[in-house]
């Protein structure tokens, strides 16, 4: 079992020694159960670090911010940034390395093994507790979570409230790390595409009905995009104007920005937006599930990415986020790639 004290010890050490400029980790929130991202700059603040099943965030998203901030600074601090990652998050780092977006030497990875469990699904927990407020959720030695409510502590098998992605996880262990907490243990897992079957087994029209209902809910807050560590483009297909503008950018270039998607949250436009996201994440999504978690409208976005992940695996035997040296899914091919769909 991962001991948070170990993490703190290492965090304190690297901050004291000046090895990193700050550490991105988790701390307790002020408004309830869930943790929040923490940006720890001094050894004294290390005490705020926590590790429990509410540490759901994929913090690698903040490496994108870090890169942007650094690019703006005149004399940037060149020391690496410490970052706490779970298995899934670590694969995001691999993809960012693969795409040369970050350099290995700019990060110091504090890897945490999820061992045999993972992180919780807040909505599942709420249901489990019938709307009662949980004060605290902790790991225990076995595959249980210990939940503290006003009524006291209780044990719940982790599987019952684990995030869906954790149930289908195949990287409970950080594939990249500078220091590791917890152990590399095998875990019994569901079929990694099990949740997809629910939708795949529907008839075509039912599938359409499902997705239309879901995507019609989209309010285009772009939280899915904003939270995704892979959505680091300077300009997105849905943006209304050119962001990447310099003094040389001509009026024509700005005028010619293609409106692939209108801002209106209508069925057709929402679909284009989510199609583009799914296709652009094909072979890149590492299933941290953040897009789905943050969606205020509860759109099961993970299915779209999961579907692409499944096809990448089944058609092309491709898995994202394990090898920083392999080419991206769509920037390579095999002679024997399937073509039975082609006339």
């Amino acid at each position: 079992m991962v001991k948070v004290e170990d993490i703190k010890k290492e965090a304190k050490r690297i901050l004291k020694e000046g090895k990193v400029k700050y550490i991105i980790g988790y701390k307790k929130s002020t408004n309830g159960l869930m943790s929040v991202p923490a940006f720890i700059e001094s050894p004294e603040d290390v005490e705020n670090l926590i590790w429990d099943p509410t540490c759901v965030y994929n913090l690698t998203r903040f490496l994108v911010d870090e890169k942007r901030r650094k690019a703006r600074e005149k004399n940037p601090d060149e020391r690496p940034v410490g970052i706490v990652v779970k298995g899934c998050d670590s694969r995001a780092i691999i993809v960012l390395l693969q795409e040369k977006f970050i350099n290995r030497e700019n990060i110091y990875v504090l890897g945490i093994s999820c061992e045999t469990t993972g992180v919780l699904d807040e909505k599942k927990l709420l249901k489990k507790l019938n709307g009662k407020k949980a004060e605290k959720v902790e790991y225990d030695e076995k595959d249980n979570f210990i939940i503290t409510t006003l009524d006291g502590k209780s044990k719940v098998p982790a599987d019952e409230i684990l995030a869906e992605r954790c149930l289908e996880c195949r990287a409970n262990f950080p594939v990249i790390n500078d220091i590791l907490f917890g152990e590399k243990v095998d875990r019994k897992l569901d079929n990694r595409f099990k949740s997809l079957e629910k939708i795949e087994s529907l008839s075509k029209e039912k599938r359409w009905g499902f997705w239309k209902e879901q995507l019609d809910k989209c309010i285009r807050c772009y939280a899915c995009r904003s939270v995704c560590p892979m959505c680091y483009c300077d300009e997105c297909v849905v943006d209304t104007i050119n962001f990447a503008v310099t003094a040389d950018t001509t009026a024509e270039e700005k005028a010619q920005r293609i409106k692939w998607v209108e801002k209106s949250p209508t069925t057709s436009e929402n679909f284009v937006y989510h199609f583009v996201r799914a296709i652009h994440l094909a072979g890149r999504c590492i299933d941290c599930g953040e897009c789905e978690r943050v969606c205020p409208m509860d759109i099961p976005l993970r299915f779209l990415n999961k579907k692409m992940e499944k096809e990448a695996k089944e058609l092309f035997d491709y898995d994202a986020g394990f090898d920083p040296d392999q080419p991206s899914l769509v920037s390579c091919f095999k002679d024997e790639d399937p073509e039975d769909f082609i006339r």
Binding site: T267, V272, A282, F333, E339, R343
Partner: protein, 140 residues
């Protein structure tokens, strides 16, 4: 007869094989339905998924991407990348419930005027019973 549904199909044809193949169909005076609007691109590998989404968004009843046979690509391997990309797009579109017939890919070489004709005939025939594509189409 005039009330019959006439699908609008956008076909992205690679310049060297499929577009040339369609030219051959013309030279050979093969007849096929006029529902397909050809857009000649340099290579099937240059067909971005956005083109496909956009065509459906703008009301295409069907979209065809056609390139050179594997190994025959004028640009050596563009069609292999296309094959991969298009496979993913196709799976995605089918996953959300678009009729699979509406999005197709074909290999048509410069010598296959007949095949091009057949591909178009089949495509139109398969789409007609489905009626207009309204799922992804922008409401005007």
């Amino acid at each position: 007869m005039t009330d019959e549904f006439e699908p609008r199909i956008v076909a992205f044809l690679c310049k060297w094989c499929s577009s040339a193949g369609s030219d051959l169909a013309g030279v050979s005076r093969m007849e096929y339905p006029s529902n397909v609007l050809p857009i000649t691109v340099m290579c099937s590998g240059s067909v971005s998924p956005l083109y496909i989404f956009s065509a459906f968004n703008k009301g295409a009843d069907g979209v065809l991407v056609s390139g050179c046979h594997p190994g025959d690509c004028h640009y050596l391997k563009g069609n292999y990348y296309a094959r991969r990309r298009i496979a993913l797009v196709k799976k995605l579109l089918e996953f959300i419930g678009l009729e699979p017939q509406r999005f197709q890919m074909s290999w048509v070489s410069a010598a296959e005027g007949k095949k091009y004709t057949q591909v178009i005939k089949d495509f139109v025939k398969e789409i007609k019973p489905l009626g207009p594509q309204t799922k992804l189409r922008r409401n005007q």
